[in-house]
């Protein structure tokens, strides 16, 4: 297949106008010795039907989607209303560039403005940016933002923050003169208060924790916000399961300075991990240090309301090495899908969805916890994920489940060596009672 729209006659006439006899001549400005003297070693071109068949074959060799899965851990399966796919696939949304020419980009800009408003409403923050790459990078950007704001060298990060977020933070801060200390989790699955208190000092730039945390446990945000603030440290809350905003109080209510995380749950498929939707909101006094694009409201020459990208003096195309972040391209289309998803679910729908997640997860945890030898690893209250401890190896149990068409919980020992024989289960509104019961009955047989 070729997507070139020029006929042979066009090419001939265009070359004539340019004043050359061939395209090769246009490459006369390249040194001869670096030119490739052979065809690229790539497969021969496929027609559209061949291409579709090839990808259907590749897709079919992913057997995962044929299973009932209880994997979560930063990626969540929620029902996506039809209108989200229908509207978000419009070429007017899919094929424009970044809205640098606002007069012909009001659609994209108004959507970003609505997205920012929704993120503020959910997080309780004053302002939001237009998106970041994913939850992990958003957490890393939040850490860098904190260190710019107060110039302190130490960041306290909960060990119950998503392991990949922690790894990403470590990569991002490596050469930035900031160091990380981890805060342990206790038997409740939440942060060990004593450990946090012993590590908090005047060098602490920020306390970063996740809630619901990696184990699904809801943290006591009020307590930790107060502790952080007593030491003049910023309090950053990461949220990997944004569906929880539908029922849990906004972190801003408890004094969070920055709320960041992953909003894949809002209308974005699991997609083998991306593209996802990093979000970030903060208090308005930190506006100038917020990374990423921001849309703002203004007026045109006739006094009509319109929207533009604004406060770009924070950004790399103006400030270069002094910018708040190097981000340019973000996840605009994912933010658009999230906006559509949230506006479609609306106030009551979002709350209903979140409540169903909690109810079903509690049902599943209680049901599975009754199986002999299986017990809840943590005492803390959770949203839609929970950790179970088994009498034996999780890998073997999961093999048994897989043979029956089920993908069980995530084996945690690779991420937390101390959590042997433990698995993280996720239950959302898409799981039926029948599926949960089936998991329980098979687990009963395979776990010993």
């Amino acid at each position: 297949m070729s997507y070139i729209a020029l006929s042979d006659q066009d090419k001939k006439e265009m070359l004539a106008r340019v004043g050359v006899s061939s395209v090769d001549e246009l490459y006369g400005c390249l040194p001869e010795e670096i030119k490739l003297k052979r065809r690229l070693n790539l497969p021969e071109a496929l027609s559209e039907p061949e291409l579709i068949r090839r990808f259907e074959d590749l897709a079919a060799s992913n057997t995962y989607p044929d299973h009932i899965s209880f994997l979560g851990a930063g990626i969540y399966r929620h029902f996506i209303p039809t209108v989200v796919d229908y509207l978000s696939s419009r070429g007017e949304f899919v094929t424009p560039y970044t809205p640098y020419q606002p007069e012909v980009s009001q659609g994209t800009l108004q959507v970003i403005f609505e997205y920012q408003t929704l993120i503020c409403q959910l997080t309780g923050m004053d302002i939001s940016n237009a998106s970041l790459y994913d939850g992990a990078m958003a957490a890393a950007e939040a850490v860098l933002m904190a260190s710019r704001l107060n110039n302190k060298p130490k960041i306290l990060v909960a060990r119950s923050l998503h392991p990949q977020y922690r790894e990403t933070i470590r990569t991002y801060i490596k050469n930035m003169g900031v160091r990380i200390e981890e805060i342990e989790f206790g038997d409740c699955g939440g942060i060990k208060t004593a450990d946090l208190m012993s590590k908090l000092d005047q060098d602490t730039s920020a306390v970063l924790l996740q809630s619901p945390n990696f184990f699904g446990v809801v943290e006591d945000l009020k307590k930790f916000a107060d502790l952080a603030h007593e030491h003049q440290a910023l309090f950053i809350v990461a949220v990997a399961e944004a569906a929880s905003f539908g029922v849990l109080e906004a972190p801003g209510k408890f004094g969070a300075d920055v709320v960041c995380g992953e909003a894949q749950s809002f209308g974005i498929t699991p997609s083998f991990g991306g593209p996802f939707l990093g979000f970030m909101g903060c208090k308005k006094e930190h506006l100038r240090q917020l990374p990423g694009r921001i849309a703002g409201q203004t007026k045109d020459v006739d006094g009509k309301r319109g929207f533009v990208l604004t406060l770009s003096t924070r950004e790399q195309h103006i400030r270069r090495e002094k910018a708040t972040s190097n981000i340019c391209t973000n996840q605009a289309l994912c933010a658009l899908r999230a906006t559509m998803y949230l506006e479609t679910l609306g106030h009551d729908g979002l709350r209903e969805m979140a409540v169903q997640n909690m109810q079903k997860a509690v049902y599943a945890a209680e049901k599975l916890g009754k199986i002999e030898g299986v017990k809840a690893r943590f005492e803390g209250r959770f949203f839609n994920e929970f950790v179970l401890e088994f009498p034996g190896d999780v890998g073997r149990i999961n093999d048994g489940l897989q043979a029956k068409g089920i993908v069980g919980g995530l084996d945690l020992k690779g991420f937390y060596p101390e959590l042997v024989n433990c698995a993280l289960f996720c239950v959302t509104e898409v799981h039926t009672k029948k599926e949960i019961d089936r998991l329980a009955s098979i687990l009963k047989k395979v776990h010993r």
Binding site: M1, I4, A5, S7, R17, V23, C29, I34, R39, L40, L42, P43, A45, E56, L58, N62, Y64, S69, L87, E92, F93, T95, P96, E103, V104, Q106, V111, F113, Q116, T117, L118, I127, A130, Y133, M137, Q164, T171, K174, L248, S271, F272, G274, T298, K299, D300, T310, R319, N326, C328, T329, N330, Q331, L333, E343, H347, R351, K360, V362, R381, L410
Partner: protein, 481 residues
């Protein structure tokens, strides 16, 4: 045109556009006890389905897009996005798969990652690729971190990164995030790297040179091999910003010109849609010496099956979660497979023909600061029109009236009043001519009727917007009055 309110302004209590099935288990009240539960989300939208559909359909009509016409943003490579790529990326096998699933259940995905790494390696002439970076800027950051890690392993991470004054703003910003100090290299009268300036600044304190090739003027760095020699002689690395790779595919390969690290933008060269600002994907290619430092995990083939290798002690770690913007990578693979080796070469050839056709057609109407031959883009300026008080901004806004998207403005910084034009290979002659004709009309209007340019656009949904006021008094969300 109907003026579309914000969704919050048409929200009515009790309306909804979606309903879940009834809970199929017995609801328990006690699960909320002791937790900080929210009873309501103040001012959260409540609308019906038809209102949602009309809201977004009307908003969509306020956007210009590639599906509507030529979008000649320089250095952005706004080419046509094939629709079949959207279709294959949406297959459940990809869209519904979980990155933490056991490797044996996602073999198709891992094969895709491996194939794209290999194909990009062949196209760019590099030894290994990582697909983890989410966009070009994150690719730059990852690439510079690889360089930092390698220097560090040799005992000295070094302090400075050299960057030409024509570079994208992300280059210095990414180098800074790696802890480096940036020094600018002057452009010479051809708009290319000044070799003398480079040779003088290239010391053993310099970790790398970041170079865009062809550069942001569309000019190929003819001395790229000499540039690499100068940098390598002092133990530095050559980082190439591959944003303009669309000029080179199948013609020559960065790896054959002394480039050690490169990032490529799949959302430019490989036709994945821009989505109004993202998602992109910024794979990074390296020479074998930097391969041990690539982000984890790596996809490898063992005993006929694909596996993930996390055991890479020299790795810089992760730059984000999971495997990057995977569905963007799927689209890029579909593009490579549909074009094949000849089609990939044709991208560059036709991109260069289209750009030179525009350059030639407009060279008597607009000023060209650098007359050096250019490849896939050309940078005019408003110098001639300035005599009539008309700026590049006025020209851009008038283009909107004439039905085409404006070029990139005021960049690169070395051309004052720049208009940076990149048509890409997928434009038809008719659309190229429409753009050229619009530009010529504006050049005439600048002389005869400059007022019409200064008050443009006249035909758009909104007219010229007050960006200064937006920044001075930021309103960045809707609030109930």
């Amino acid at each position: 045109m109907i003026r579309e309110p914000l969704i919050f302004e048409i929200s009515d209590k009790g309306k909804r556009a979606f309903r879940l099935p009834k809970l199929d288990i017995k609801a328990k009240k006690h699960i909320f006890e002791g937790l900080a539960i929210r009873d309501e989300i103040a001012d959260f939208p409540q609308v019906s389905e038809v209102e949602v559909v009309r809201h977004f359909t009307r908003l969509s009509q306020q956007n210009y897009c590639v599906d509507l016409g030529i979008y000649p943003l320089g250095s952005c490579t706004m080419k046509y996005n094939p629709k079949v790529n959207e279709k294959v990326a949406a297959l459940d096998g990809f869209a519904q798969s979980h990155p933490l699933a056991p490797a044996d259940m996602v073999q198709g995905n891992l094969e895709i990652i491996k194939l794209v790494e290999d194909y990009l390696g062949e196209i760019a002439g590099m030894d290994a690729f990582t697909l983890q970076p989410s966009a070009g800027a994150q690719g730059e950051l990852a690439g510079m971190m690889l360089i930092h890690a390698c220097h560090e392993a040799r005992g000295n991470p070094r302090k400075i990164v050299l960057i030409p004054d024509s570079a994208h703003g992300t280059n210095p910003s990414s180098a800074h995030l790696c802890g480096y100090t940036v020094q600018e290299i002057k452009s010479n009268e051809n708009g290319t790297v000044d070799l003398e300036d480079l040779a003088q600044r290239m010391t053993e304190d310099v970790a790398a040179l970041m170079v865009t090739n062809p550069n942001t003027l569309g000019v190929f760095e003819y001395d790229i091999c000499k540039i690499a020699e100068i940098v390598h002689a002092k133990g530095g690395f050559v980082y190439m910003d591959g944003a303009n790779m669309n000029a080179l595919t199948g013609i020559c390969r960065p790896g054959d010109m002394g480039v050690d690290v490169i990032h490529i933008n799949l959302h430019k060269t490989f036709a994945t849609p821009h989505g109004g600002g993202g998602p992109g994907s910024g794979p990074v290619g390296v020479k074998v010496i930097l391969e041990p430092y690539l982000p984890i995990p790596r996809v490898e083939k063992k005993d006929g099956a694909y596996v993930l290798n996390f055991d890479r002690p020299k790795s810089i770690g992760r730059v984000r979660s999971f495997h990057g913007n995977f569905l963007v990578i799927v689209r890029a693979l579909a593009y490579i497979l549909s074009l094949g080796p000849d089609g990939i070469r044709e991208i560059a050839e036709m991109a260069v023909l289209n750009a030179n056709y525009i350059r030639k057609s407009l060279e008597n109407d607009y000023h060209l600061k650098y007359t050096t031959p250019t490849l896939h883009e050309c940078v005019f300026s408003d110098k001639v029109q300035k005599d009539h008080g008309v700026s590049n901004l006025d020209i851009a806004k008038r283009l909107i009236d004439l039905g085409v998207h404006p070029p990139t403005m005021s960049f690169p910084l070395i051309v004052h009043g720049a208009l940076m034009i990149e048509p890409t290979e997928t434009e038809s002659r008719r659309d190229l001519d429409m753009f050229i004709e619009a530009m010529k009309q504006i050049a005439r209007e600048a002389k005869e009727d400059p007022g019409i340019l200064k008050s443009a656009p006249h035909q758009s949904y909104v007219r010229r917007l007050d960006e200064t006021a937006a920044a001075r008094h930021p309103i960045v969300k809707w609030e109930r009055e």
